[in-house]
Each structure stands twice: as C-alpha cells, then as structure tokens.
Symmetry: C2
Subunit: 198 residues, 2 copies
DNA sequence: TATTATAGTGAACGAGAGGTCACTTGTCAA
DNA sequence: TTGACAAGTGACCTCTCGTTCACTATAATA
C-alpha cells in the first residue's frame, strides 16, 4: 500500500545528493527526512549505490522521454521575437523547477565519478540543447527568419551562452533575475546579428 | 629544510579534491601519496578544513595574480585571424595544464558547498573570461577589426561557447581533440559574423 | 482464522573517518 | 656539547559511516 516509499526515497536522494554530493550524503539523514529509521531504507534498496543507480536510471529515462524524442520538439517560431519568447519560457521553467535544478546539480557534482552521470551531463549541458535548437534554427531558416548558415553552429552559438547563465542561476540563485534579463538581452542580440536581412 | 611538505600537501590535496571531492577525500590516502603517515599532515595543518581553506587561498591568490590584473591582459590581435590564434593558444594551455584542469574540477565540485569556491567558480567560468575579452574586443573595434557593438555582449557571446567546450574537455578528455577543433571552427565562425565589413 | 508477505524498528557490527598525543629523529644555534 | 625546535611516527581515541539481523506490526490472502 504505502510503498510509494521506494519512490520517496529517490526524491529525498535527489535532494540530498544535489546538495551534498554522493559521498557527502548519509543514509541516516536521508531516512530521517522521510520519517523512518535508516534500516527501513534497506527494505527498498540494497545499498547506497543501489539508490544512486536507481536515481540515475530515472534521470536518464526522464531525459530520454522529455528531451530526447522527436515528438517533444517545440514548434518553430513564426518570428524572430517568437524565438525570444520561446527561449524565455523554456529558461524560466528550467531555472525555477526544483527537480530540474537538483538534477543539474547532481550531474555537475558527479560527472567525474560516474560514467553515466558524465554522459547525461554532456547531453544536458551541451549536445541535447544544441541539437534541439539546430532543428528549430533549420526551420527558421526555411521560413526566412534567420540568415542561411550552419544550423548546428548557430545552435551552439545560441545555446552555450544561455547554458552558462543557467549554470550561474544554479550557483548563485540570488542573481537569477539579472541572469534572466541577460539571457533575454542575449536573445535579442542574437536575432539582431543572425536575423535574415530584410 | 624539507618543509616544502606544507606546499606538497596542497598539491596532493588539489589532486585528490579534484578527483573525489572534499567529502570523498581522506587524510590517510592524502598522506600516503606523500609518503608519510596521516598524523604527519597535522603537523602542518590543524584539520582537513584548514587544508581546504589554504588551498582555496592559494587558488584565489593565483587567479587574482594571473587573470585578475590589468597588466596581464593579452595584446589586442592585429587581425581577425590573430584572434583565433590567440584564442587557440590560451585554450590549448588551459585544457592541457594539469593544475588548471584540477582547479576547474575542484571549483565545479565544491561550488555549492563553499561560498568562496562559488565566487571563484563564477569568475573562472564566466565573468573573468568575459571581462578579459571585452577589453580585447574593444581594442579590436578601435582598430576596425570588429564591427562596432557592445564589447561585453560580444565577449559573452564569444567566451561562453568556448567555456562550454573547455568544460567538455574536463568531463570527457577523450574528446579533447574534437573539442579543440570545434573551438577553432567557432572562432572562425565568430569573426565571419562579427568581423568589420570591408 | 491461520498464514504469509511487506514495511518498518532498534540494536549491533566492522570498517574507516578525522583527530590527538607521547615519543623519536634530525638540524641548527648557543 | 647541549638544548630547543621542527618534522615525522605509530598507537589510540571517538565518532560516524554503510550494512545486517532478529523482531514487530499490519494488511491482504488462502
């Protein structure tokens, strides 16, 4: 019945791993945050490493489902301004959603220790975003909204600065508002530079 | 006499912290890697945290000395191609120098736990590079090598993608050569886009 | 009703952590 | 030569870690 405990353990693990890292997290605290005693956790996972692996399984599956599939491509904007709007919607979500913030933090902290975390980090932080926007930019070029150029290069030039500011938001939450404004300014700069000449 | 031990401890600490993080590092291993026993370390530092703080002091001082001062500004390139050359020299150094690699890794791993690490991470990964290249780009604009625009915005647009690929090199050293080629390609793309119209 | 599986408890364990301390050794100044 | 001091040793301390296990409570099943 109340065996959503197994899932609640993963939620708590994400929270603690993202704050203190894998090595800095202990099972006692994790259990306590769920209102049970540490041996209770071992009824659901055989070890700390098993919790970590299950969490990574979930993160990988979630990423594949939400960002890795073609049908989840956002629509191609109808105007340069539409690109900024869409970008800001995505960015606003990604820097305010606690679960996604914690996922990024965990991947950041464990990328050098765990191979799967490393792979997922590269997707999350670099290749995934670039591929997504390469599609979008190719569509915008077809519509005559963007100067014809290599869509992958433009996507990289567009997403990497945004990604850097998203990382800044994770690191310094106080500066979130400024960072968001900076992203918007960068978006407008980008369309001014790369927008198709009228 | 042989009291460079205090300094050797910091070297070993940088190595271990960058691989396993602060929490994942233990003094026994650290001491053993220096050929001494753990209590020997406590003759030089009163605690693990003291080692961490001394290491951070050193990293902060090193950064201020080498990247934070005006007189260490690289010369403004004489041609668009010169920008690429200079960039590749800097990048090649930064992705191959072990100490700098380890410094980036440590800052990456501890940015959420230690406030000074967080500040230094933001400088290392974002603002420092941007300010440096803002100076360079302002100079290039004066020379007519770059289209007139906001130097800070251009510097951000230039350095953030490069920084993303430097992080990729740290995360996936196997892909270092591809990443360097990608940085060079991006540099050429950048001057094609932002170079002053002849 | 008796049985059985599931979820959770609390005490215990061994290993390894950070840290202390009395002691030895080597070096140099008085 | 002696004394003082810095550097290093090894045994030991306490604490916390991940993990185990015998046990209990509960709820569904036969």
């Amino acid at each position: 019945m109340a065996s959503d405990t197994k899932e609640r353990i993963l939620v708590a693990a994400l929270e603690m791993f993202s704050q203190n890292g894998y090595a800095g997290t202990n099972i006692r605290e994790l259990s306590a945050s769920l209102g049970l005693v540490k041996s209770g956790v071992y009824k659901h996972y055989e070890s700390k490493a098993a919790i970590w692996n299950a969490l990574l399984d979930e993160m990988i599956a979630y990423y594949a489902e939400h960002f890795g599939s073609i049908e989840h491509l956002p629509p191609v904007p109808d105007s340069p301004e539409g690109l900024v709007t869409m970008t800001m919607q995505m960015v606003n979500f990604t820097v305010h959603d606690e679960k996604i913030i914690m996922t990024r933090k965990v991947l950041t902290l464990e990328q050098f220790r765990d191979e799967r975390a490393r792979e997922l980090a590269t997707k999350h932080f670099l290749t995934g975003l670039t591929e997504l926007f390469a599609h979008i930019f190719a569509g915008m070029m077809d519509k005559g909204l963007l100067r014809k150029d290599d869509p992958k290069m433009l996507a990289f030039a567009y997403t990497a600065p945004i990604s850097a500011l998203i990382h800044l938001c994770d690191r310094e939450p106080d500066q979130k508002e400024e960072a968001l404004a900076q992203i918007e300014a960068f978006g407008r700069h980008f369309i001014a530079v790369y927008g198709a000449k009228q």
